[in-house]
Subunit: 249 residues, 2 copies
């Protein structure tokens, strides 16, 4: 296990995410404001904890690179993953507002996070109402993701759930600028997928194999490619509205 720490902040002016077409442009002064509130870069090694379950809030973070997930565990070890976090996603808002993190956050890959000063949220609300609204937008968007996942876990069959997860992650990875040719990076183990969908790892494995044999997905070398998006969506019964521009902190 390698070290985790807090480095000098990566300069927002050279942010690799912000220029992407899926992110909202900022107004004058807003970028400078965000940059000023950024206190450093946190690095967490794959498999390590970013935020411990039930811990008081440390910082609000934006995920700059790498994948992570939010989860809850039960005393006997059962675990439910609420959502995966990709570059551009914010984390720690709940913990900040509700005083304590109602869930843990763990890094799937090595991860780099932009850390914001402790009073950032409140200062955003006082100084930049439009950024504050963006923050609420991000909270609402986060809930939308969980709502979608809830439909999978509660009502979709294993086949449909896995298919829906693949479509959703593919689109999100694409919008984070991770798509190359017809594939995106895919660092999730089958155990993680199982914990996100409320399935056992064994059953998840068999389900993925079926999707593969149907030629709907290809997973190899840590990358995910979708053969026929239309068909996969049909299997999943999953249609989302086209994503609007999203804010980035």
């Amino acid at each position: 296990m390698r070290r985790s720490g807090l480095d000098p902040p990566f300069p927002c002016e050279r942010c690799p995410l912000r220029p992407l077409p899926s992110f909202k442009r900022l107004q004058d002064g807003e970028l400078a404001f965000i940059a000023r509130r950024k206190v450093g870069q946190k690095h967490v090694v794959a498999g390590d904890t970013v935020v411990a379950e039930g811990e008081a809030a440390a910082h609000v973070f934006t995920l700059l690179s790498g994948w992570a997930f939010r989860f809850k565990t039960m005393s006997d070890g059962r675990r439910q993953i609420m959502s995966f976090l990709l570059p551009g996603d914010i984390l720690g808002l709940q913990a900040e507002l509700l005083d304590v993190a109602p869930h843990g956050v763990e890094a799937v890959t090595d991860v780099s996070l932009c850390a914001f000063a402790r009073d950032t949220v409140w200062s955003v609300y006082r100084v930049h109402p439009s950024l504050a609204l963006d923050l609420t937008w991000l909270a609402a968007h986060g809930e939308r993701l969980v709502d979608d996942a809830m439909l999978s876990v509660g009502r979709r069959t294993a086949m449909e759930s896995v298919a829906a997860l693949f479509v959703s992650l593919f689109k999100r990875a694409e919008s984070a600028g991770l798509r190359v040719e017809d594939s995106v990076p895919f660092p999730l183990t089958q155990t993680l997928i199982a914990d996100a969908l409320g399935l056992s790892a064994v059953h998840t494995n068999r389900t993925i194999q079926r999707l593969r044999r149907m030629g709907l997905v290809r997973i190899a070398d840590g990358r995910l490619a979708i053969g026929d998006l239309r068909s996969l969506r049909r299997v999943a019964q999953y249609w989302d509205q086209p994503a609007p521009l999203r804010p980035l902190f």
Copy 2:
């Protein structure tokens, strides 16, 4: 089916919820501001739709009285309830921010809602930063509820899920001032509970019967009483941190 409509607003100054001990006190001017933005009272009859799935946002509402629920349906009729809404809960924030309601809302009982003017959210952010923060708090709190529910649907057994739902609803109803003696109103049908927990109605029925026979809950005359909260929590493996004061719009 009786009529639904929009009546003159119930005066915020005489709000029956706000004085309750679980709600946050407001600063000077905030109540007046809220009252000014309130455009009317919407009444929806039990079983009717408050917000249609996929519809553009109409208003942001606060639930004044009655119970409702947020849900998604699949083309073949399978339905997942994301969360129940009790007096004091806000609804329509997601639809307002994300342009379209990602889920439907239906009334369980007859329901009365405080409707706010279309530009309310933005004006809150410009004029009353502290209220804006409250709005985000409510969004974050809403997501916490869904996260909890997700653990039930994904990882808890039927027994645990039902128990957890009962505990959660009992506490929420209590904090909305609905508790009388050792019971709260309980208008949910077993079908609704099933749709919230991702179970079949039949299995939900048998599970509730078991809880009853164990003496952990009593449900009669549309009310829910919990025999031994401690034991029920143990069965559910459900412990929440004591609720902090929550904002009310």
